[in-house]
């Protein structure tokens, strides 16, 4: 598919850095986010949440709340009577508990009232009778035979024999090739270690918010902050028993998602409240609710073993990963298993994963879900093994890096990619040879992510003045509208400023999958390029009509229709505006469309390098210098590619050093706020330097690879390697918070 490259000098606007179309609105406050919508007669909704980690709900008495002046509707699980398909059932039960509260913060009931204060009073009037049950929040504890059981209808899947007793382990998966025993027998050096990581939250600044308006005739509209409004429509329609065509969902501007807004939490509640009250209902989560009830990532317990010959050849790689996904199935452990060894070539690889249920909120996707914690463990062992063999950690990785044609850890053979280039550029960078001071260390690590294509539908309309409107169905989380405009401008041969992009609602385009899997610039970009080519064909046909020559005698060059050759006739080229200006008399509006299930998403690899300093008396880690080397395929808008590289690194720094979910003995979350859930602040960070590597993806017309997720895969490992070097002791648990680092140093001295 690749047909335009930088090498042949074809790009005119791709690779430039124009202002983003949503920039002015965002800096002036005009941009409308989830909580900015107001509808006439709108009520305020609030959700009552379980204070218990695990409890049977014996009864819910809503009568006193309903009797309160100003309360217009109260809902519980009993209000959800639709025959919900299995695929959406857990999502519904996660939004509102059905008979059992499964974690601290689990929604139990919701109210809609004429004011926030009345809604808050009404919540206090709802009487819930709980039977508190023993709970479990630790992934290893949950695997034990005598652990409190979350669901009596979950039996471990993926075993040779289906078990007869229910379990908190919902499934076992296995990936790999060869025979690891044979591989380890051939090794001269073997390193194996256990690792733990704590759950972290995506930490988006904008809490979940929506306004639902559902009419008695079963038609409705929903305004919400999400990464995928088509997903919201389909899920809500299923849960509420609506035709999907009757629910129109509009995505607001989004204040961050990072995967955490790829599912629903409050939207069906707002719609159910609206249906009951007959008025629009706004629901906005507090930060406390965001932490307690929306998707953090998994916590993990892992074991990794890698063997190599004295000459540095890796002979075998084996791993056991246990991820908890909260109170429901689906922890992304299989993606952890698939990605764990993806950067390497070895004849013998095996990963086994367990998907574990605990009394915590249902895990949601978080940027390359499942991969960063596995990379933390694997890349720590790779560096340690390199050290045991007396090898430079980058050299060791270069020797064993997966290349085109190699059997991958997750199934297919590798296609062309930029891993070697990231390692070579890292090795040659002045960062790698810069001197280090006392108590300082340097770490490197590699990371991989698949990237995704998926269902995509786009539309392009040409105005009478030759300006262009494009509609996509993929939410713009990281500046993608600017990239869309650049690709259309490139294809049509018009200035960037003449193209405007909107994220259209669910009634205006065919189905679009969520903005996830780093897919938007790849797949919506591909669909728009093909939409533009569709429009160009029509533009040529209109010019042919005006010139009264055959359609195939017209070509589109540099933003103009022109005769394709000397035999076509002598006509002055017509600009886009000239052809568009005559559209009314040549057949009406000119548009282009494309629908596809985009395939060919190219994988992306990265190498990260970081210097840290450890305070030997307090264990406090300071990040001194950080450089990201990542393959972008083709950087459409380099500033936003760099932004993705930097953002992934920064979130990884948070995950590595201070971020963690802390549960008390009572199973309640202890730090549901940004004071004690410590994401990095600006002054914690050095400038994150970036090196964009461009190894074109042959599956995209311009060579684009997704870049949004790979950047969070290597940071924890790179920082662990750096901190371990600085502290003089191997750190195997995240976060590497000061108490943990100090204790590790003290224990190593003792």
């Amino acid at each position: 598919m690749l047909d335009k490259t930088a090498e042949n000098g074809e790009f005119k606007v791709i690779g430039t850095r124009p202002e983003r179309p949503d920039g002015v609105d965002k800096v002036t406050g005009r941009a409308r986010f989830g909580a900015d919508m107001v509808m006439p007669g709108m009520l305020i909704g609030k959700v009552l949440r379980s204070p218990h980690a695990h409890a049977n709900i014996k009864s819910i008495d809503t009568s006193a709340a309903e009797a309160l002046e100003g309360v217009k509707a109260v809902i519980t699980a009993a209000d959800f009577t639709a025959d919900v398909p299995e695929a959406e059932y857990d999502t519904m039960v996660n939004c509102i508990a059905h008979g059992k509260a499964l974690y601290d913060g689990h929604g139990v009931a919701a109210v809609a009232a004429t004011s926030r204060s009345i809604a808050n009073k009404a919540l206090k009037l709802i009487k819930v009778e709980y039977e508190v049950l023993p709970h479990v929040t630790d992934v290893e504890e949950a695997c034990k035979d005598d652990a409190p059981l979350l669901h009596d209808n979950i039996f471990t899947e993926g075993l040779e024999e289906t078990p007869t007793t229910p379990s908190n382990i919902s499934g076992r998966v296995q990936f790999g090739h060869g025979d690891v025993d044979e591989g380890f027998a051939a090794a001269d050096k073997v390193v194996e270690r256990k690792f733990r990581t704590e759950a972290t939250h995506q930490g988006y600044i904008e809490p979940h918010a929506c306004v639902g308006n559902l009419s008695p005739d079963g038609t409705g509209e929903l305004w919400c902050c999400t990464q995928g409004h088509f997903m919201v429509r389909n899920s809500c329609a299923a849960i509420l028993g609506l035709d999907i065509s009757r629910l129109r969902v509009t995505a607001s501007e989004i204040g961050g998602g990072f995967g955490g807004k790829t599912t629903i939490f409050i939207e069906p509640l707002a719609l159910a409240l609206s249906r009951k009250a007959g008025r629009p209902v706004k629901l906005v989560m507090s930060r406390d609710e965001v932490f307690r009830a929306t998707g953090p990532t998994s916590s993990a317990s892992m074991w990794i073993k890698i063997g190599a010959k004295n000459d540095g050849t890796i002979t075998a790689m084996e791993g056991l990963l246990k991820y908890q996904g909260g109170a429901f199935k689906g922890s992304w452990v299989s993606l952890g298993c698939m990605t764990a060894f993806a950067c390497y070539r070895a004849d013998h690889m095996k990963t086994v994963g367990y998907d574990v249920l605990v009394n915590r909120p249902r895990a949601a996707a978080y940027r390359a879900p499942g991969a960063p914690m596995a990379a933390f463990a694997v890349e720590s062992v790779v560096t340690e093994l390199a050290g045991e063999l007396g090898r430079d950690p980058l050299e060791f990785r270069l020797q064993n890096a997966a290349k085109e044609g190699d059997q991958s850890s997750y199934g297919p053979k590798h296609r062309a990619h930029g891993l070697m280039e990231t390692l070579e550029q890292a090795k040659a960078h002045d960062h790698y040879n810069a001197p280090l001071g006392p108590n300082q260390g340097r770490g490197v690590a590699c990371g991989f992510w698949f990237n995704f294509g998926g269902q995509t539908s786009t539309s392009l309309n040409i105005g009478a003045d030759g300006t262009v409107n494009v509609s996509v169905g993929t939410v713009d989380v990281g500046g993608s509208r600017a990239s869309m405009c650049l690709m259309v401008a490139e294809e049509l041969g018009v200035p960037y400023e003449k193209v405007r992009c909107v994220v259209a609602d669910t009634s205006s385009l065919g189905h679009n999958d969520i903005t996830d899997g780093s897919r938007t610039t790849f797949s919506s970009g591909m669909a728009l390029i093909l939409s533009a080519r569709d429009a160009k064909q029509k533009l040529c046909a209109r010019a042919a009509k005006i010139w009264e020559i055959p359609e195939d005698a017209v070509e589109w060059v540099d933003g103009h229709a022109r005769p394709a050759g000397p035999n076509a006739g002598e006509f002055d080229p017509m600009s886009l505006a000239e052809v568009a200006g005559k559209a009314e008399t040549t057949g009406g509006p000119i548009a282009g469309h494309h629908e596809c299930n985009a395939r060919g998403a190219g994988v992306s690899f990265a190498t990260h390098m970081v210097d840290t300093e450890v305070d030997p008396e307090t264990g406090r880690v300071t990040v001194l210098r950080y450089t990201v080397f990542q393959d972008a395929g083709k950087a459409i808008h380099p500033a936003y590619v760099e932004g993705q590289f930097q953002g992934g690194a920064v979130q990884g720094i948070g995950w590595a050093i201070n971020e963690e979910y802390i549960y008390g003995e009572d199973g309640r979350l202890q730090n549901a706020g940004f004071l004690d859930y410590r994401i990095p602040v600006a002054s914690d960070l050095p400038m994150i330097d970036t090196v964009i590597i461009e190894t074109p993806n042959k599956g995209h017309p311009y060579g684009v690879r997704g870049v949004g997720e790979t950047s969070i895969v290597p940071p924890m490992a790179a920082i662990a390697n750096s901190v371990s070097a600085a502290a003089g002791v191997r750190l195997t648990e995240l976060p590497m918070s000061p108490p943990r680092v100090l204790k590790a140093m003290d224990d190593a001295k003792a």
Partner: protein
Amino acid sequence: MRFEAPTTVEDAVSLLAAESGMARVLAGGTDLLVQMKSGISEPDLVVDIKRIAALHEISEEDGGFRIGAAVPGIALGEHAGVKAAWPGVVEGTELIGSTQVQGRATMVGNLCNCSPAADSVPAMAAAGAIARVVGPNGSRDVPVEDIAQGPGKSTLAKGELVDSVLLPARPDHASDAYLRFIPRTEMDIAVVGCGVNLVLDANGTCTDARVALGAVAARIFLVPAAADALIGTSVDDAALDAVAAACSAAATPIDDKRGTVEFRKKVSGVLARRAATIARDRAKGTA
């Protein structure tokens, strides 16, 4: 909820004394408004003291400085006299919140919020600062370390408020310092805080000292053993080791989301040593 903004301390006291429900004093509001928004505090009466002109003043008194209850951190940080005499108190206050928060947050509000982790209080306690408490029965002077009874709970009686804090006069060769431990670089809450105030003679021998710890007990408290370890020494390594040991021993923290007992006891000593070093160097004029 009622909101009142009196223009005299007497009126503020009368309003507070007359309220039958819960009454709260509003200065900068950087604690109170957050508590109200999150539902932790639902007062029936809020008395804003920012319209009381006298409470905005920093005035010289008996060679020291009286800081009004409505003086925000940013004003304190711009006061050359206070900064020169009490750099530790000023740096403690300036650690509260962001630059925007500094425009509102007050040192006295930080004191009256009664958090064991309050950043301005260990340095004030080490300084020997005296709070002036005004109430229906007149005014009384209270050492700042006696204002808090426990987390979020003060020793003030109904109708009382702190209208100012007095930082005493300074002899020559005297200075102070405050350090806190946080995992990040700013916008965080102290895991351990330590204020050290000391006076040297012309030969560099310590003649007076006070050391206070924060965030390692239910209240901010003085560590007399640490002060004794400094007095009579040149604040050399041996003295600093003794200060560290005294502070580690005096800390009685709990295990919580912000740190372990072991970690906080150890870091209490580390910070005490570092803060004492800074205070010594400032007193000598070598900092």
